[in-house]
Structure formats: C-alpha cells, structure tokens
C-alpha cells in the first residue's frame, strides 16, 4: 500500500513544506527583505546627510538592522505550527526531534537570513562603503545570519504559546546575539580601519560552530517543555 520514506526524504519534506508555505504568501519572504531595506534607510533620515558620519555608522547600522530583521521573523518560526497542531505531529513523527528542529532552523535561515546577504551590499552602497567593506559585510552576514537563526530558535521555542511573544523573544535573544554582532560588525569595522578582518571572521566561525552544536539541542528541550 505504501513505502517507507528515508530519514533524509522526511527531513527534505519538512524543509520543502516550510518554504512552500512561505512562498504561498510571497509577502512573507519579501517582508524580512523589505524591513531590512526600509529600516536601514531610516537612519540617514534620522541623522541628516553627513557622508562621513554615515560611513562611520554604516557597519553597526547595517549589522544591527540585519540582526533585528532576522529577529522579527523568529516569532513566526514555530508559532503557526504550534497553533494548528502540526508541531505535535512533528514530535510524534518517527524522526528524531533534533533533526526536525534543525530543518526548521535551516528553512528560517534560507527565508530570512540568506536574502540579506544579497541585499546588504546594495544598501551598503548608500552608505558609501568601499568594495572591500562590502565583501566582508556579505561574508560576515552569510555566517552570522545562520548563527542568528540557530540562536533565535532557542528564543522562539522557549516562548511558544505565550502571547505578546514578539517582544519577549527579542529580550531573550538579543543579549545572546551580542557575540555575533560584535564579530560580524567587527570584521567590517576592521576593514574600515585597515586591519585584517580574519581574526573577527574566525571568531565568528567559532561562535557559529558552537551554535550549531548547542542551539538545536536547547531548542529541542524547549519544544518538549512547551508541548508537555
């Protein structure tokens, strides 16, 4: 009557479905994207048009904005699956929950972190960043946003089913994001002052590696607690 699916194809289905759902409401995929663009453009509006000031602000403004836009979409990461009972079904699936969590994180990254890697340099141009700076900005975001999705997943699972979640997640997650921000923006700043960004980038890599190990475990524990 039916054949069994391999672990791999079950996980692939989970990823595929998250992306399909997001795609169905394209506005969602676009949204993080636009939020980043609009929020980053607010700073020049708020501060007058001094190009030197803008250039100096740019790494922190772009990185903080990227961080906030990834964070904003966190509450969406598990909430709807929780509300409609899909998450229960996932926990009852015959696959280890850690792997399922990892897939959800991956989907979140592909939908909210990855797009930023491509627009950030464009916005960077508005702030008069140099080519080298833009390159490192993109590279640091590529690694950094994955770490943000991983760490963010912990906040998202901890606050499942709690109302007014958006802001609570922010409070839980922002302090944990600080190393990512420091090393990510630090790499771009290093280029600005003519220092090699490699140190910052390798530290960022180390943070990412740590997050890859611990975040899925912590999220899984939090999920089990939330559904109990």
């Amino acid at each position: 009557m039916h054949k069994k699916l391999s672990t791999f194809s079950v996980l692939y289905k989970i990823l595929e479905r998250d992306i399909k759902v997001a795609w169905r409401r394209q506005s969602d995929v676009m949204a993080v994207f636009f939020f980043f663009i609009i929020a980053a453009s607010l700073f020049p509006l708020g501060s007058g048009a001094d190009p030197k000031l803008l250039n100096a602000m740019a790494p922190s403004v772009l990185w903080v904005t990227a961080l906030l836009s990834c964070m904003l979409s966190l509450s969406r990461m598990y909430a709807s699956d929780y509300a409609d009972g899909t998450l229960e079904q996932m926990m009852l699936s015959n696959q280890p929950t850690v792997l399922i969590v990892l897939m959800k994180i991956l989907a979140h990254w592909m939908l909210s972190g990855l797009p930023l890697v491509f627009v950030a340099p464009l916005i960077g141009l508005q702030f008069n960043l140099s080519g080298a700076q833009l390159q490192i900005l993109a590279l640091s975001l590529l690694m950094g946003t994955l770490a943000l999705s991983l760490i963010g997943s912990i906040g998202a699972t901890l606050t499942l089913g709690i109302r007014g979640t958006g802001v609570l997640i922010a409070i839980l997650v922002l302090p944990l994001y600080i190393p990512v921000l420091v090393f990510g923006a630090g790499a771009v700043n290093a280029v600005s002052i003519g220092v090699s960004p490699n140190g910052a980038l390798s530290l960022l890599g180390a943070v990412l590696a740590m997050a890859l190990v611990f975040a899925p475990l912590a999220s899984t524990a939090a999920l089990k607690i939330a559904l109990e």
């Binding site: 606050t159 709690i162 944990l176 600080i178 700043n189 530290l203 943070v207 524990a221 607690i225 939330a226």
Partner: protein, 248 residues
C-alpha cells in the same frame, strides 16, 4: 501525591524536597540576617569612618565599598542560578528550580546596583556617567540576561513549564556568558579610541581590602537570607494553589 524527589533515587534529594526545606530555611534566615546586618555595619564603619583617603581619587573612592561587592555578587549569583537551574533539569528536583527562581531578582538587583554605583563613581572620575568600556558593557549585558530570565519566568503561568523553560534559558546563558564577556573585551581592544579602562588597583591599602571583604561577606549573607525568604514564599504560594484546587 507521590513526591517527585524520591523517584530519582538520589538519597540527598529526599532532604531537598520543599517540605523538608521550608522549616530548615525558616531557622537559617534569622541567623543570616543578623550576621549580615552586623557585618555590613562593621564594613560601613571601616569604609566610611576608619579607612584613609585615596591619594589619587580623594574621598570618591569610598564608593568601592559598595560597588565592588555588588559587582562580585551580580556575577556570582548568575552562576549560582544557572547551576541550580541545571540541577533542576537533570534531577527534576523542584527545590532546585525554586532556588533558581528566587536568586534571579536579587542577582538583578546587585547588577543594577553595580551599574548605578559605578556610574556615580564614573561621573567624578571620568567626567561621564557612562563609557563603553568592556567591563561596564559586560555588566550591562549581564543585566539583560537577568531580565530575560525574569521576563520568561513571569510570562508563563504554568509554573512547571515556567521553571523548566527558564532553566533552559539560564543554562544557555551560562554557556554564553564567557563568550559574551570575551567578545566584548575583544570589541573594546579593536577600537582603542578613547575608552577609559578601570585603573589597575593602586596597591590597595590593607584596610581598604579588609573593609571590602567584610562588606562582601555581609552582602553574601544578606543574599542568602533574602533568597531563602523568597523560596519560602514561593513554596507556600504554589502549595496553597494546590490546596485551593483540591477543595472542590
């Protein structure tokens, strides 16, 4: 109802059940409170009346007698909280969760005090209420971590879930604290700029050190007393809810 602690098979946990602990804590509190009051009074005496002035900073340095103990305990209590939270998760021991819950507000309070007294010191010393120095920044982040823990605990009203979820958060925070502190340090060294670091202690006079230590022990005993009081309230509150439910 079966006692959760007995299930785990660790003998010492039996004594760690809230019911046994409640009267024990009740006996400890007055002793801690009295010795805390005595030590703090003695520390104040040394700090304000006996210790001589600092040749660099004048009388302003006396803030050290509250600032430093507060800063120490802000960090120490966080570690302790994470430890209890971890034990709670591992042994499923209710009392551990209760301790973690009770520590957080006091820890946050000391963090806030370290920040405020530090600022009050910074204004006359550096001419600014705040500088983005690595140590100050780390302390600020520590406050955020406490706030996260307390907010999460408050936002979940199923107590069992609140305990477990905030324990997970405390542990995640504990893994992160070294990374955060380290990253902030690194951030500050990259941009040397005008940041002023806290000066190396200028061979602190023995009497100053003595005053600070006494003050610190006083704060420690105060923390114990307050935390135990809070645990007792927590035990009663949760217990009475159970009783309320049983009535019908």
């Amino acid at each position: 109802m079966k006692n959760l602690a007995t299930k785990s098979g660790f003998n010492w946990l039996k004594y760690a059940s809230p019911k046994t602990f409640y009267p024990l804590a009740g006996k400890l509190i007055p002793w801690c409170a009295i010795s805390a009051a005595t030590l703090i009074a003695y520390g104040l005496y040394i700090g304000l009346l006996v210790a001589p002035t600092d040749f660099q900073q004048g009388e302003g340095y006396r803030i050290i007698f509250v600032h430093v103990p507060a800063a120490w305990f802000s960090m120490f209590l966080y570690l302790l909280m994470a430890l209890y939270a971890g034990m709670g998760l591992v042994f499923n021991a209710k009392l551990s969760y209760l301790m973690a819950t009770a520590i957080a507000p006091t820890g946050a309070m000391f963090t806030l005090l370290a920040l405020v007294t530090g600022s009050l010191w910074g204004k006359p010393m550096w001419g600014a209420w705040w500088v983005w120095d690595a140590r100050l920044t780390s302390e600020l982040i520590l406050l955020f971590l406490y706030i996260g823990y307390i907010s999460l605990q408050a936002a979940i009203d199923d107590k069992t879930r609140a305990d477990k979820a905030s324990a997970v958060l405390a542990l995640v925070g504990a893994i992160n604290v070294p990374i955060i502190f380290f990253s902030v340090k690194w951030w500050n060294t990259l941009h040397q700029g005008s940041s002023i670091s806290l000066t190396k202690a200028p061979a602190m006079a023995a009497i100053m050190l003595q005053g600070m230590l006494i003050m610190a022990i006083g704060f420690w005993l105060y923390s114990i007393a307050v935390i135990l009081m809070r645990v007792r309230c927590e035990i009663l509150e949760r217990d009475s809810k159970t009783a309320m439910f049983r009535q019908d």
